[in-house]
Symmetry: C2
Subunit: 334 residues, 2 copies
DNA sequence: CGCCTCTGTCGAAGCGCTTCGATAATCGGT
DNA sequence: ACCGATTATCGAAGCGCTTCGACAGAGGCG
């Protein structure tokens, strides 16, 4: 157990300067001579000084903490969410901010409480639905916020996401280039569409648009996440659409079941059926065969979200919509 | 955008009492007449007062925030970690605390910083390794901490975890009762064992001990997470151990690959081979057939960890080791 | 009826920091 | 060598809350 924490006035005394001088050295908000700066920083090091977060927040009206609002709903692929979360934390640290984790169980009250108590300076919301109950609240919160994902009415909000419509289209275009003429999309579980989760719908729209543009035949289906149901869907698909030779899978939990089901039904990938997935690279690489895939740049999304939030905290105006371009990696499944 | 935040003195004025009286009403630390209490609470509601977290932390020396330290290492199953994380957040809120998310990239410095700056009152560490670099630091931190998982030397630390040794044993005992005589454990990827992650080793030890106790034949293998490698291991196993009829799988990412590989090699579950998994219920239920499994009581672990931390924050002495009992659910795979 | 003990409330002193205005000291220009 | 502009530093006033000691009034008791 260590002793009482070192305060700024002890540092000041040790360095032979005023408290305010130490503060200015640390914040860089006023010019300080090289000599004084060095003495102060030495004292900081020697004494092991860490500014008290509460006192700093109180005096400066900035907690240097942002909230990460992360509801954990069924049907969401958790590892991807965690990639977002991790990159948000990492990016926030780069701006000298910490991250407070808020989950769904408190509902909007949690957001209101964290914001109103000045616990956090701003909010990053993940897993945004088309009609998200948290969104109206955001608009009358004093604290700035950034959404990862798009609600139906994103006017006045700052949103970041992968361009899922483009991702869906990219998959179709890739299959078209490979000469396939009939394709299918296996998407999220139906509950996700019903809930109106934006990314699932937008992928489906992009898929449909590209199918129309390229003149392919194509269907979009929802896809549950247990093996037997996946297997049944695949069987049905193979049965009713003999010309089908390309599959787009946008469901991280089901993608291995899809491969298993194809194997079970005697179809070889890619010889009989080509498969392209929208999923993280590690899942694509771990499959057999390794899958051609469009990856979700979680890292980049998190970083951009934080960057935008920091801009807003500085009082700058930022673009409302940020769409990141998807990237397709060809592997052995197409 | 809302206007400047309401302060305690505005509440006091509105209610016609002193600031300190409002504080005592809210904290309950001194007796207040029913009448005054009601007036104050009314004012709080009418004005929409939320105490300023920074000011409160500064004055009371308690931030009412705990840190959740969550390194995200390869080979760890993220959904399970998130179950822990979620239950920690939920439990913390029950004690009126919030959760600050710390990840690995800052290393131990992040812990030191958060603790020294009084940003957090205590720490919950997840995914603890046998020789964890964060552990020595904990011992000389003034802030109390609780570990989820056990390091090699847990003396002086408060640790909570599922009794993985018992979980491994439970699986073996279940298979023995079902009449199997030769079994195998497919565990974590080898990197996880090499890193010395406690739970993986303890499961293996429990498995080995139970194999010895019950007089079965058994091997424990590590298990990578891509389909082709799993398939190869299964092939080898079936080939070299014709008597093998029971499999224990302790690897969430590989469990579906195992089932796929068995199918591929023409083995039926449970008729030819019985499979029992150590994994969350949702994975077990989604497999085909649904798997008999020992679940990891993530919810309970998180809750206990927070409870212990709160006890320590109150200055109470708590038991060093808390092992939660595993529970086996029989489904269709055995 | 006077004394003592509770109860309920108040005022004021910080908690450790940031920031504003003031003040010295230094400098270049003439 | 003098003046105004700069540069570097200081002191003090809060930020909004908790908590300590004080104290008035109510109530119990002999």
């Amino acid at each position: 157990m260590s002793e009482r924490a070192v305060t700024i006035s002890e540092v000041a005394r040790h360095a032979g300067v005023a408290v305010s001088t130490v503060s200015y050295v640390l914040s860089g908000k006023r010019a300080i001579s090289a000599d004084t700066r060095r003495r102060v920083l030495d004292s900081v090091r020697v004494l092991g000084y860490h500014p008290n977060a509460g006192a700093r927040a109180l005096a400066s009206k900035r907690a240097n903490v942002i909230a990460l609002v992360l509801p954990l709903r069924v049907g969401m692929h958790v590892p991807v969410l965690m990639q977002f979360a991790t990159s948000v934390v990492t990016a926030a640290r780069q701006y000298d901010h910490d991250v407070l984790l808020l989950t769904a169980d408190e509902g909007s009250d949690g957001l209101r409480r964290a914001a109103a108590s000045a616990l956090v300076d701003g909010l990053v919301l993940m897993d945004v639905e088309l009609h998200d109950s948290r969104v109206p609240l955001l608009k009358d919160l004093a604290e700035p916020s950034v959404l990862i994902g798009f609600p139906a009415d994103s006017a006045g909000l700052t949103c970041v996401d992968l361009d899922f419509a483009r991702a869906g289209a990219l998959c179709v275009e890739h299959l078209a280039e490979r000469g396939h003429t009939e394709v299918a999309l296996l998407g999220a579980p139906s509950v996700v569409y019903e809930r109106g989760t934006g990314f699932a719908r937008r992928t489906r729209e992009g898929f449909a648009a590209a199918v129309a543009d390229t003149g392919l035949k194509g269907v979009a289906l929802s896809c549950e996440e247990n093996f037997d149901q996946v297997s049944a869907v695949i069987a049905e698909l193979l049965d009713t659409r003999p010309g089908l030779s390309g599959l787009v899978v946008h469901n991280e939990a089901a993608v291995n079941h899809v491969l298993g089901a194809l194997r079970q039904h005697g179809r070889r990938v890619p010889d009989d059926i080509a498969v392209v997935a929208i999923c993280p690279d590690d899942i694509a690489e771990r499959s057999s065969p390794p899958l051609t895939s469009v990856l979700i740049p979680a890292e980049e999304v998190g970083r951009q979200a934080v960057r935008l939030l920091m801009e807003k905290l500085e009082g700058h105006v930022v673009p409302e919509d940020t769409l990141l371009q998807p990237w397709l990696t060809v592997r052995d499944s197409t």
